[in-house]
């Protein structure tokens, strides 16, 4: 639901970093989005398109990397893939997962000139 404000924050982070490094154009932006972060990809794509207009990211390539969700069973400690917050452990069946990966929402890198 906040994809637009997230997009604006991404543009802010990229713009201020680029400025600090005396770059004038961003050619590519790499963003990590966890499967379990709550962000809707299509909405973020759409919002980024709008938020990047008129900024030094205007024509930048967008590289959105989805980080897979991973959980660790608090019962048997085995790790397993998951795309929800409450998938039961495939090994012991307990539904008590600790999410260890997949909640990221991070600007990973820029390619600038």
């Amino acid at each position: 639901m906040h994809e637009f404000s997230i997009a604006m924050d991404i543009v802010d982070i990229a713009t201020s970093t680029a400025r600090k490094e005396a770059a004038t154009v961003v050619k590519e932006i790499e963003i990590e989005i966890g499967q379990l972060s709550g962000v809707v990809m299509e909405a973020l794509e759409f919002s980024l398109e709008a938020a990047m207009k008129g900024t030094i990211l205007e024509n930048a390539r967008r590289n959105l990397i989805i980080v897979a969700g991973k959980a660790r069973c608090t019962q048997c400690l085995s790790e397993y893939d998951t795309d929800t917050l409450f998938k039961p452990c495939p090994k012991c069946g307990t539904c008590a997962p600790d999410v260890i990966q997949g909640r990221e929402l991070r600007v990973k890198s820029l390619i600038v000139e």
Binding site: E3, F4, I6, T24, G38, K108, I111
Partner: protein, 268 residues
């Protein structure tokens, strides 16, 4: 676009007021997004000077940093800060009113109210007898750490007090925004359906305590309490539960015990 939610007018700040201040407030301080429109290009070399900048910066970082500052402030003042979240109409404000009336002699309460519009909730809290500040988010759908930071300063919270922050009624967005609270309390009522936790997992996962309110209505409903607990525990195995009725008072003692224990763990 509003600062936090991407809707409405640009630069519109949330309004933070004590009851009675409505007539002479005015908004200032515009915390704009500063978009860089600098297109000064350097002379063309004919080959690119492309370089990669590794950033690794968390997007919600700014709110999280402010939240940690709030957290530090609360710890220094030995204040128990609670973030009360729920859908609209579950009984958050009524719970606060009753808690203040019943326990106001024993415990020191300070309240922050969050709504899109009106001073209604803050006025109710003032009537109940606790110091309160109302945050009106305008079109915003959740409180954030910055709003809480400003509201707390206005409230002048005392050392050792219990600060209860009643978030905007919304089971979706507040889940993403750390306010710097010590604990998050999610409130659902028996009229909402057992599968609420499954439908709004982020909120239930991020909470420490789940209050199930309006138990006085159970005879008129098909609500299965145990099923509701099971669903909630699927999403968050560590979630604690208190079932109560603000209206009749049933179960309220468990809530007061939890408050006392959480505020003063050494003095149980």
């Amino acid at each position: 676009m509003c600062d936090s939610c991407g809707c409405g007018q640009p630069g519109k700040e949330p309004i933070i007021l004590k009851p009675g201040e409505e007539s002479h407030h005015h908004t200032h301080t515009h915390d704009h997004h500063d978009h860089d429109h600098d297109h000064s290009h350097e002379h063309d070399h004919g080959h690119s000077h492309e370089r990669k900048l590794e950033i690794e910066q968390d997007v919600l970082g700014r709110n999280n940093l402010l939240a940690e500052r709030n957290r530090g402030f609360f710890e220094a003042k030995n204040v128990l800060a609670l973030n009360l979240v729920s859908s609209p109409g579950s009984g958050k404000t009524s719970l606060l009113e009753r808690t203040i009336r019943d326990q106001g002699e024993n415990l020191s309460f300070f309240i922050i109210e969050g709504d899109q519009q009106t001073m209604n909730d803050a006025n109710r809290i003032r009537e109940a007898g606790a110091p309160v500040v109302q945050v009106n988010t305008g079109e915003g759908c959740h409180l954030d750490a910055d709003m809480v930071n400003k509201a707390v300063k206005k409230l002048e919270v005392e050392d050792g007090a219990i600060l209860m922050i009643e978030n905007v009624g919304n089971l979706v967005c507040p889940a993403m925004f750390d306010l710097g609270e010590s604990s998050r309390v999610v409130i659902m009522s028996v009229t909402e359906g057992e599968d609420k936790p499954l439908k709004y997992p982020y909120m239930f996962r991020s909470s420490d305590l789940c209050i199930i309110n309006k138990t006085d209505l159970l005879p008129y409903l098909d609500f299965d309490l145990e099923q509701a607990r099971n669903y909630a525990q699927q999403v968050n195995p560590k979630l604690a539960f208190i079932e109560l009725s603000v209206k009749t008072g049933e179960g309220m003692d468990s809530w007061y015990d939890w408050l006392r224990q959480t505020a003063n763990p050494s003095q149980v």
